[in-house]
Structure formats: structure tokens, C-alpha cells
């Protein structure tokens, strides 16, 4: 599958944004972290900013972005429509929570309810995003039991690392938050390793034989219907060289998981502000690593239409 920049950025940014939003909604709403104006303002701006930037970016790949409002109508059948509805609906409790927590400096009561609803909305939205990919049968690497949990785990991971950085900067960091961010990163790493292991051993039942209805033997493509790459090959026939794939996987291991995990581990031993600097450093590095991971998620996904082209 062609890794369109707009979609790769969209899923990476909204993942981190919803992860952070859910974290702030729960911790802020129930008063685990104190209602500090600047912490709240920067935290909420970061979370909602990432979400808004991602959503805007996703409209960038539309052929007719001016009709995007129509995408809210088919929630009964379409995961993409459900994602649109859930993402916009989440803004309502998020705004209420933000006003109560940041501007009124309150927690508990209705702010806690709004925070809880915000977190729930974030989880639902990330699930709908994951299901868009997990529901596509022609792409075996996506239509797997690994896809939906991956979206949830990675959103939790990137949101938690971002949240930890924020709290560390405001001298509100705690061992519990640090350990949570570290565990989430390790969980993400484990899930990605398991996913790649699964994908590398995948035996896809759909072959050139079933695609053409020609039973038995081998079916070899000897002539394409067109001389140049068409829409299908540009969109679905994207291929990545094996050596690049291996290299990009190593970059993902390093940037998305190993380096943030090491940074978070040493934060425990570092005094402020060194601990804060290491925490802040972990967040953008992990974001960059997850961007590569998401790029690979597309680039390594093989669509059944490529079978018709002998690929």
C-alpha cells in the first residue's frame, strides 16, 4: 500500500493526541495531577493540537475535501464514518473538561465526569481508526488480530511518554507516571515484535490461482493491460525493497522503543532539570520512530490486486 504522508501523519499524530487527551482527562479529572493553569493549557493545547493537525492532514488526501462533511453520515456501516463521528463527538467533553480543569482550576464532580467521557471518547476514536485498517480483507497484514490492539497500545504509549514529559517539565513528575510510560513503551515494543513475527510468517490463502479462477499449477503474468503504472499500482502496488524494509525496522526499534525506554529509565536517577530534558527528548524521538513504523505499516502491506500483476 502506498504510504501517503497525510495518512501516515494523521494516524501517528492523532494516536499521540488521543493518548495524551485520555491521560489528562483521567488524571486531571480525578485530581491525580493538580489543576495548574499553564500545565493544563499546554497539555490540552498539545493534545487537541495534535488531533486537529492530524484530522486536517487526513483531509489532505481527499479528492473533494469540500464535501468532507458527508463522511459523518454512514456510521451504521463504515468505520471511517464512525471515526469521523467519534473524533468530533470527543471534542465536546474534551472542551468541557478543558474549561473546567484549566480555566476554573477544578477537578472532581462534573469535571471528573467530563474527563472520563473525554478518555472514553479517545479510546473509541482510536478503536475506530484501528478498525478501518483491521476490517480490510484484501490486505492480510492489516486484516489481523494484531492491528486493533496495536493502535490502542501505540496511542497509550505515545500519549504516556508525552504526558510524562509534560509533568516532568512542570516538576510534577512521579515515579508512577515514569514507570507507566516505560511499561507502555515496552508493551508497544513487544507488540510490534510479535506483529512483525506474525506478518513474516503469514501464509495468505489468496493466490494468483484463486484471483483468476485458474485451478492448479502456476499462473504467471505475461502481459499487463497497460504499459505505465496505473492508479491501482500507484495506490495499492507500492513495493519496498527488502533491504530498506530491514533498515527501517531497525530505525523503528531504535527510535520508537529502545531510545525512549533507555531515556525514561535514566530519568529515574536524574535530578530536575536533567530528568525533564531526558523526558522531553524521549517524546519527539518516539514520535519520529512511530512515524517510520506507520510508514512501514503501509509500505509492507500487500493488497490482493497486486496478484493480478504478478507481484
Amino acid at each position: 500500500m502506498h504510504p501517503a504522508f497525510s495518512v501516515v501523519f494523521f494516524t501517528t499524530a492523532t494516536g499521540a493526541g488521543y493518548g495524551l487527551l485520555a491521560l489528562l482527562g483521567l488524571l486531571g479529572g480525578f485530581g491525580v495531577i493538580p489543576a495548574d493553569f499553564w500545565l493544563g493549557l499546554i497539555g490540552m493545547a498539545l493534545a487537541l493540537g495534535l488531533i486537529a493537525a492530524g484530522l486536517l492532514s487526513s483531509t489532505g488526501h481527499l479528492g473533494r475535501p469540500e464535501r468532507a462533511w458527508r463522511a459523518f453520515s454512514q456510521w451504521r456501516s463504515s468505520w471511517l464514518s464512525r471515526e469521523g463521528v467519534a473524533s468530533v463527538a470527543t471534542f465536546i467533553p474534551a472542551c468541557m473538561f478543558g474549561i473546567g480543569w484549566v480555566f476554573f482550576g477544578r477537578s472532581g464532580g462534573w469535571v471528573a465526569v467530563a474527563g472520563l467521557l473525554t478518555a472514553a471518547g479517545a479510546v473509541v476514536t482510536v478503536c475506530t481508526t484501528g478498525m478501518i485498517y483491521a476490517s480490510l480483507k484484501p490486505i492480510a497484514q492489516w486484516h489481523s488480530r494484531y492491528t486493533l490492539p496495536a493502535y490502542l497500545i501505540f496511542a497509550t504509549m505515545t500519549g504516556s511518554v508525552l504526558g510524562n514529559a509534560l509533568l516532568q517539565v512542570f516538576k510534577l513528575g512521579s515515579t508512577a507516571m515514569l514507570v507507566w510510560a516505560l511499561l507502555a513503551t515496552l508493551a508497544g515494543w513487544g507488540w510490534k515484535l510479535a506483529t512483525w513475527r506474525h506478518d513474516d510468517r503469514l501464509e495468505i490463502p489468496t493466490t494468483a490461482n484463486t484471483a483468476t479462477g485458474l485451478a492448479g499449477g502456476t499462473v504467471r503474468s505475461i502481459e499487463w493491460p497497460h504499459t505505465e503504472e496505473n492508479y491501482l499500482l500507484k495506490e495499492m502496488g507500492f513495493r519496498i525493497a527488502r533491504k530498506h524494509s530491514a533498515k527501517l525496522r531497525r530505525i523503528t526499534h531504535t527510535l520508537a522503543f529502545a531510545v525512549p525506554a533507555i531515556l525514561l529509565a535514566i530519568v529515574y536517577f536524574l535530578p530536575w532539570p536533567l530528568g525533564a530534558i531526558a523526558s522531553v527528548l524521549a517524546a519527539p524521538l518516539q514520535f519520529a520512530g512511530m512515524f517510520v513504523e506507520r510508514w512501514l505499516f503501509f509500505a509492507e502491506a500487500k493488497h490482493t490486486v497486486t496478484l493480478y500483476y504478478g507481484r
Binding site: S78, W79, P205
Partner: protein
């Protein structure tokens, strides 16, 4: 509405005979010609005379070499929308632009509602949908809805353009939901198959596999060619010089 109908009154579709298709591309050009002025018009071409020609086509003919223990054969394979009974391209559509008709089972796109998110083309395992980069919407085979119900055409011409154009009658059109229809009988008789049945899209179109190789064909007992004799004289000398 992108929820699928529980059942359709008819299941209009195509049956393609892989035994008689000669890969002449007549159906491809007939489809393009009709549809670039039809229901889903235009079928935009970009850089049509340049080095990076690209464009929207509803019907593409591939060629394959099918090799089994009984030998190899060339199979020409037209590929177009199969008007599935479980078309995920319809259910994934967020805007309601894609729909499956209750009356005849044809899968269509309402171009005025399409936002060009391309998700339907990802959901189609057969590569039936092609994006029009110029108009910014998705396009696909309409089964020539503007021909098959067209009272302005003679009754014989009320078939999809690809079917009308086929010089070897390798393409058949009809109601595959009616077991008594000629097309259903043909599928029954020739053991027509659905493509990628394991994915569960339940395509309406069927492909008739190539017939078994016949042993009845006459053997040609022509004598083997004689080796070319080098002639004498000047030409013979040149031949000998060049042969070494």
C-alpha cells in the same frame, strides 16, 4: 445508504469465457468509448500522448501463462467490477456515495457525494475501482446502466458495451440470480467459478475456465525440415565462411 440490501430482486452480471477470450481488447476500448460519455463520465486520461500516460478504465485485460502438469496455455483475462453480493467497497464508504441497487444488484457510485477518500478501492480485492485524479472522485463499472435499460437503443443492443463489442462472444450478460436464465445455465454447464471466493465477497460475475485440452485434434505428420545445403559457387563460399 451504504448498508447492503438483504437481497436484490435480480443479480445482473457478466459471465466471461476464458476459453474463447482472445485478448483483443475490443471490450476494453468499447467500454472506454461508451462510458467516457456515459453515467460516470468522463473517464479522464492524463498525459494521453506522453510518456506517463494514465487514465480511468473500467475493464482491463491481463494475459497469463497457466502451467499445469498437462502443459502450458495462454489465458487472456478481462478484469472488471464483479458486482459482489457482499461488496465491502460499499459498506466502507463514509458518505453514502457507494451503493448497491435493490432492483438489480448493480454497485454504483454517486459522483456528487464522493469525497475521494479512496477507501473503497482499498476494500475491493479485485481492483475494480479507479480514482479519477482530475475530477477527484472514484469511478467504476456501471454494468452500462445507461445501455441495458435504454429504450432508445434496439432491444439487441441493451447489453453492456463490452458484451456488444466482443467478437468471439466470450462475454455474456444476464440475471445470475435466476437459475433458469440462459446465463445461469451456461455457468452451470461450464462450471463457472467466482474469483477469490475465500474472501467472502460473493461476486456475481462468473468466469468460465478454459476447456480441457482436446485429444481429437489431427496430428500434423509433416516431414522435418531438411538442413540447408551450402550451395557451390560464390554464394556457397560466403555461406561457408559465415557459418564457421
Amino acid at each position: 445508504m451504504t448498508c447492503l440490501p438483504a437481497r436484490t430482486d435480480r443479480k445482473l452480471g457478466l459471465v466471461i469465457d476464458l476459453d474463447t477470450c482472445v485478448g483483443c481488447q475490443a471490450c476494453v476500448t468499447a467500454c472506454k468509448e461508451w462510458n467516457t460519455g456515459g453515467h460516470m463520465a468522463p473517464l479522464t486520461d492524463t498525459d494521453p500522448y506522453g510518456g506517463h500516460v494514465d487514465g480511468v478504465w473500467f475493464n482491463r485485460v491481463h494475459s497469463y501463462e497457466h502451467t499445469t502438469e498437462r502443459g502450458g496455455r495462454t489465458v487472456n483475462f478481462p478484469r472488471s467490477c464483479l458486482h459482489c453480493e457482499q461488496p465491502a467497497c460499499v459498506t466502507v464508504c463514509p458518505t453514502g456515495a457507494s451503493y448497491k441497487r435493490v432492483s438489480d444488484g448493480i454497485v454504483l457510485v454517486d459522483e456528487d457525494k464522493c469525497i475521494g477518500c479512496k477507501l473503497c478501492s482499498w476494500a475491493c480485492p479485485y481492483g475494480a475501482r479507479e480514482f479519477d485524479t482530475d475530477v477527484g472522485v472514484m469511478k467504476k463499472c456501471t454494468l452500462c446502466v445507461d445501455r441495458i435499460y435504454n429504450d432508445n437503443l434496439a432491444a439487441d443492443d441493451r447489453v453492456p458495451a463490452c458484451v456488444a463489442a466482443c467478437p468471439t462472444s466470450a462475454r455474456h450478460f444476464g440475471d445470475l440470480g435466476d437459475p433458469a436464465s440462459a446465463i445461469s445455465q451456461l455457468v452451470e454447464e461450464r462450471g463457472g467459478v467466482a474469483l477469490m471466493p475465500e474472501l467472502g465477497y460473493r461476486p456475481t460475475n462468473r468466469y468460465l475456465p478454459p476447456r480441457a485440452r482436446s485429444e481429437r485434434a489431427s496430428k500434423v505428420d509433416a516431414p522435418a525440415l531438411e538442413p540447408i545445403k551450402a550451395e557451390g559457387g560464390f554464394l556457397g563460399w560466403i555461406d561457408r565462411m559465415l557459418s564457421d
